[in-house]
Every structure is written in structure tokens, then in C-alpha cells.
Symmetry: C2
Subunit: 278 residues, 2 copies
DNA sequence: ATGTTTTAAAGGTCTAACGATTCGCGGGAG
DNA sequence: CTCCCGCGAATCGTTAGACCTTTAAAACAT
């Protein structure tokens, strides 16, 4: 292999205005942008400005082709860009077309998860950082949840405990764990919190915890959760914060041990393998 | 206009596995997915799994065409999807090709900003929620910054104050404001914090504050900032938290007044207009 | 009325070029 | 020998046109 590695400039694109005509060199010019980028930028502008409202239909691909003076392929590539940013959805058939998407929080979480996952590989995003963010977010969230939770939230929280010991697989245990914490941040009544918390949770699991925690760990988690739930049931903000804080402190050592072990023993898991496909 | 509105199902796509073969109906089948989605999904998998590392080159479009048994158009649409998720970058010319992108935190912020902006329109994401998240994030961040800040951070923070009164335009004032807060969360030493804080800041400005704040507001901001800076210079975690908390409480009324005013007086600004293009 | 067939609109896919950009190499000028 | 220029190849960017598939609604038959 002849060093493929790093090509030329990074050429950000994606979410930038073509402008950049500000100060600096008096000969500042805009870099050439591919047609599909220009089309995508303009359409995104229209959507973000609210010129086309959620649920409304965009012109057909043929019409866009005419409007922009570009070929259908170019227009379609622009539409793929927008659709992968969840700004539009497409439907085939007679009443079909391209529609401005109603934003769904779940999409944002998915994107964040992919991004954090990559950042945790190459940039300096460590397990400590992620746990720190969990503390920053979930401790206040637990406090708010104690005040704002509904009966439905409490019901879900009570259902997050393993029913029969040893029946639950690791995956199952983690599922309950995830649901417990996500429900709490949802009960805090602020949409932003679950959107951010969920991807951090996922990354912590897939890249760091990796189902390697011992049963004792899950025992402790279960006990902690009971205490947290009790505080939230009581509606005691301070107590809920304290319990959540304690809980997150408790599980930090396990995450760090597993992380260190994974680093020490190479060839353990998934990332950075030299693929040898068929 | 014959009611364009909401087409059929939302058809999430984007970041899902084709699987879904689990429990539920015994006749569970996978929905038909367009070719470009399948190609994008597979390539994304390869990248996220680390089978292809950052900076490495993917096969050329012609090779992918052969590998997937799809036309070049289809492959290219898949590549556009991945590039808009900042997983790849493309370079033209001889040594060119498609390269796995090194993730940059800034991209994540851009995506979050667009997403939060849309959510603040149609979903229940209010100015109160955003301010609440700022408190949750920035109060602990200020505390951490007081402990972890370097001299460089302090230098930047000191440069964020308006030099001459009335010289600074609203945009300029906000720029300094933004830089001050972002620098603090950066000084906290946790990459995740600025990534999340920046888009929240931007959305608060563009959708709620809209440069409508009176000079008295900016006076107060400036005074608060001085107090916060002093606490961070002192290295006093508790003090820094307290000052930041107070600051955010101080500016809440202004945001809310402007928000209410904008709602009360229609036709004020940008979003939700019935477009009438040429 | 109700069920079936036809039709037309729209996105999805394919093919086959040609254009534009960039790197590296080789030849000519100094 | 060195430097510069230009040429060619590799690769993405763009176009044009055709055909397929899906879907809703209109037309038709029962």
C-alpha cells in the first residue's frame, strides 16, 4: 500500500455560508463549491429560514433541475445531503415527492452518538470526560425529576429492575440501566437532556464498558437505582441529586478499570483492525 | 395550493440497521430500502467499526460501483450522504478520491445547531429549556474552569470585553459574549461541553434574542462577566459557580421578555412565512 | 355502492459520455 | 545538472436521456 493517508486540505463544507468575504486578505475569494453543495446550501437555507414549513412539499426533482439549471443527478445528490441531515424525507409514487421533515429528537441523538463515537477514537475524548458530562447533566436532572416527574415516569422507573436474578443477560441488564437513566432525564422535563444523555450513554457502553462488567457491578447499580428511585418518589430534589451523584461516583472505578484493561491488553476488541475482506 | 402537507409515514432511515427482525409480529420483514441507503449504511458501518481508519482512502467510485453492483449515480448518492455526516471528504484530481474524515468537534456543533433550531420551532423546545440547559452546563463548567484554566484561557477571557462604548455594534457585543462563555467551557477541559454549549448559544441568539436586547442588558452582562472572570482568575471553584449562576439568572428576564414580545407582535421576523416565490 | 383496472406522477436506477482538477513524470531550456 | 513547462493519467463533477418501480387517484366494470 502506497501511503494513502491524508489528502489535501480538509475542505469543511457542509454547513458553511459561501461568504467569507470579510477582512484579511484584500483578495479574499470564495473557494469553488461543487454544484450539489450549492444546491443543498440554498435549499437548506430555505428550510431553516422557515420559507418552507415542516410537512410542506418541495418542488419535484424535475422542477428543481430547471430552477437551479443543474442536472437531475446533481439535484438528487443535493437532496441526499439534506435527507441525511434529516431536513427532508422523500416518498415515491403518485402523491410522492420531497417533503420538509418534522424534526425528531431521536435523529439528533443518533447523529451525536456517531460523532461522539468517532471523537472518542481519534480526539482526546476519554471515559473520564464522558462520565464527567454524565455527572454534570444527570445530577441536576435527577433533582428536576424529583420535582417534575409524573406517575407514568415512576411506573417506568419501577419497571427497570431485573425481575429474576441471573435470568437477565448483560445486554438485558444494560437495557434496564439505560431505560432507568433516560427516563429520569426525560422526567426532568427538558427535551435537550435526553437528546444529549442518550448518545453519551451509548458511547460509554459500546466503546468503554463493552459488557465486561462483573455481576457485582450490576448488583451495586441495582441498589443505587433503588435509592435514586426512592428519592424521586419522595419528591426530594436535594436527596435525588445526592443519590445520583453517589451512584455515578460509584460506577466510575469500574469503567476506568475496564478501560485500562482494554488498553493494556491489545487485540481485545473492534476498532482499528487491518481489514482483510473477501 | 392543494394541501401538499404530510405525506405517508416518516420512514426514518439514516442511522438504522436494516435488521428489525426481532420479536413482535412473526412475519416481521424489513422495509425496502433504496440502493443508495444500503450502500451508505454498509460504508458507514465500515467506517464506524474502524475497518477503515481516519485519513485512509476508500475505493474509487468506479471500484465501489463494481463492488456493490450498483451504478455510479447510486454510489455517489451514498457518498453524499456520508459526506454530509462528515464521515468522508472527497478530493478531485489525480491523487484524489474519497477519504475517511478526521472528526472535528466543530461539525458536531453545526449539526446540533441546525437540529436545535428546528426543534425550537416545531417541538416543545422553549427559551426556558435552553436557558435551563445553559445553567446545568455552564455553572459546573465555570467551577471546573476556575480550577483547570491556563494563562491562555485567561488572556482570551480578558479580551472579550468591549473596548470602546457604543463603538461595538450589537453583533460585536454578542460575539464577545459568545467568545467569553465558550472560552469558559473550553477551559473546563472537557471537549463535550463546548460542543453542546455553542449550538445552544447560537439558537438562543438567532431564534430568541435576535439582537433586540437593550444597551442596559449588555451593560449588565459586562459587569457580570467581570465578576465571573475575577472568580476564575482567583481559582475559586465555588465562587465561579456562584457568579455564573447569578449571571444566568440575571439575563433570563430579558430573554423571556423578548420572546413574549415576539410572540405577541406577529409579523416581526423570519420564521413561518407563506412563501411566494417567483 | 363497491371492487377492479388503468393511468399518470413522482422518485429510483442505469448507461455512457464529457468536463474539470490535480499530481507526477519527462523533456527541453538555461 | 537544475529548473520549469507541459502533457497525460487518475479521479471526482456534471450532463443527458432512458427506463423501472411505486403509489394515489381517476376511470371503469360489476
Amino acid at each position: 500500500m502506497p501511503r494513502p493517508q491524508n489528502p489535501r486540505a480538509s475542505r469543511s463544507a457542509a454547513l458553511e455560508q459561501p461568504a467569507a468575504s470579510g477582512k484579511g486578505s484584500p483578495l479574499a475569494v470564495a473557494k469553488v463549491r461543487p454544484g450539489y453543495q450549492q444546491v443543498a446550501d440554498q435549499l437548506r437555507e430555505l428550510i431553516l429560514e422557515g420559507r418552507i414549513n415542516a410537512g410542506e412539499r418541495l418542488p419535484t426533482e424535475s422542477e428543481l433541475t430547471e430552477m437551479f439549471g443543474a442536472s437531475r443527478s446533481t439535484v438528487r445528490e443535493a437532496l441526499r445531503i439534506l435527507s441525511s441531515q434529516n431536513l427532508i424525507v422523500t416518498a415515491r409514487g403518485a402523491g410522492g415527492g420531497t417533503f420538509v421533515s418534522r424534526p425528531e429528537p431521536r435523529y439528533v441523538s443518533d447523529i451525536l452518538e456517531a460523532s461522539f463515537g468517532l471523537l472518542s477514537d481519534s480526539e482526546h475524548l476519554t471515559v473520564d470526560h464522558l462520565l464527567e458530562v454524565r455527572e454534570i447533566l444527570e445530577v441536576p436532572a435527577a433533582g428536576l425529576a424529583a420535582v417534575r416527574r409524573t406517575e407514568e415516569h415512576l411506573a417506568v422507573l419501577r419497571s427497570c429492575f431485573p425481575v429474576r436474578a441471573e435470568d437477565a443477560s448483560r445486554a438485558h441488564l444494560f437495557e434496564g440501566n439505560l431505560r432507568f437513566h433516560i427516563t429520569i432525564v426525560e422526567a426532568a422535563g427538558n427535551m435537550v437532556l435526553p437528546v444529549i444523555t442518550r448518545p453519551i450513554f451509548s458511547v460509554l457502553r459500546t466503546r468503554f464498558l463493552r459488557d465486561a462488567a462483573p455481576p457485582a457491578f450490576w448488583k451495586r447499580v441495582s441498589r443505587d437505582h433503588r435509592d435514586i428511585l426512592a428519592a424521586i418518589e419522595d419528591g426530594s430534589e436535594g436527596d435525588a441529586r445526592a443519590q445520583m451523584d453517589r451512584h455515578l461516583e460509584n460506577l466510575r472505578p469500574t469503567y476506568e478499570e475496564i478501560d485500562v484493561a482494554a488498553r493494556g491488553a491489545p487485540g481485545a476488541q473492534g476498532r482499528a483492525r487491518a481489514g482483510k475482506e473477501s
